[in-house]
Amino acid sequence: MRGFKAAQLLTATLAGVIAVSGCAPATRTKLWSLLFESEAKEAQPVVRPTRRPTPTPVPAPVPVAGIPVPELPEPVPHEWRTWLRRLPKDAAGGVDWMRALADKAIEPKAGLDPATPAQPVFPLDVERTPKGQPLFKATFPHKSHTQWLACANCHTAIFAMKQGAAPITMAKIFAGEYCGRCHGKVAFPVVTGCPRCHLALAPPR
């Protein structure tokens, strides 16, 4: 029992010391002075350093002579892969550029000068139906293409401007001709994009 009492006394003393040392300096001095006479002098006000010292101005880095230090204006973040992943995706997992354009997730400029006006959008749908296969009717929207491309990009080197002039087949597109000049290379892939041209193949919403 004696040991238990000693432990209690020790705990109480420790708690008292901790409580007193947690007090303000003036109160602490008064309390100590009750026990020790020598502590009865006035406590010096403690000046604590502020947590955030005022920042000293950092001198600009002096470029080393001979080696130009390039200043890199970053319209797109340097970590552009992360940035690209945030753009809307199509069914195949690639970037859906048309939706990105419509949602204004991207705003591609029409020239090096940002004030260059974009060329007018040409709203003409060209339709081609294979003989006896109305389900596979393909619709070519000029509207979405002229938001990116100029007329001269396709006409007349790839497509003659005459209905039925180009003998387009899926085999030729897969081989990289006609639509395959861009689709599957920079534009959405042919293998996964069926309903984007063959509108009747689109799944019901």
Partner: protein, 106 residues
């Protein structure tokens, strides 16, 4: 699922996971006819460029839309042709010693 397929599938999943984001649709590799030292092949990321400019800004005035049709060289770029039309330090990052790795990276 049969046990024998477990490890090959796990490996495939790992490869797919790691390969995510390593190449984008439209990345163009400028492979050279002859190996030139240790300089890696230059890669043109179409996706980054088309997010900022419409196709007709570069096609066909700067680049013809046909593989191998553009004789791109560092000399031509430093004369302001091809990539050098924009990558001059004003419109886009300059072609400089510090920026080699931004194109020559494969």
């Amino acid at each position: 699922m049969r046990r024998a397929w477990r490890w090959p599938l796990a490996l495939l999943a790992l490869i797919l996971l790691l390969s995510d984001g390593l190449a984008d649709l439209g990345d163009i590799m400028f492979t050279r006819p002859a190996p030139t030292g240790d300089t890696p092949t230059a890669v043109f990321p179409h996706a980054v460029h088309r997010a900022q400019f419409k196709c007709y800004v570069c096609h066909d005035a700067l680049f013809r839309m046909q593989a191998g049709a553009n004789r791109v060289s560092m000399d031509a770029i430093s004369q302001g042709k091809f990539c050098g039309a924009c990558h001059d330090g004003k419109t886009a990052f300059p072609v400089a010693f510090e920026t080699c790795g931004r194109c020559h990276r494969e």
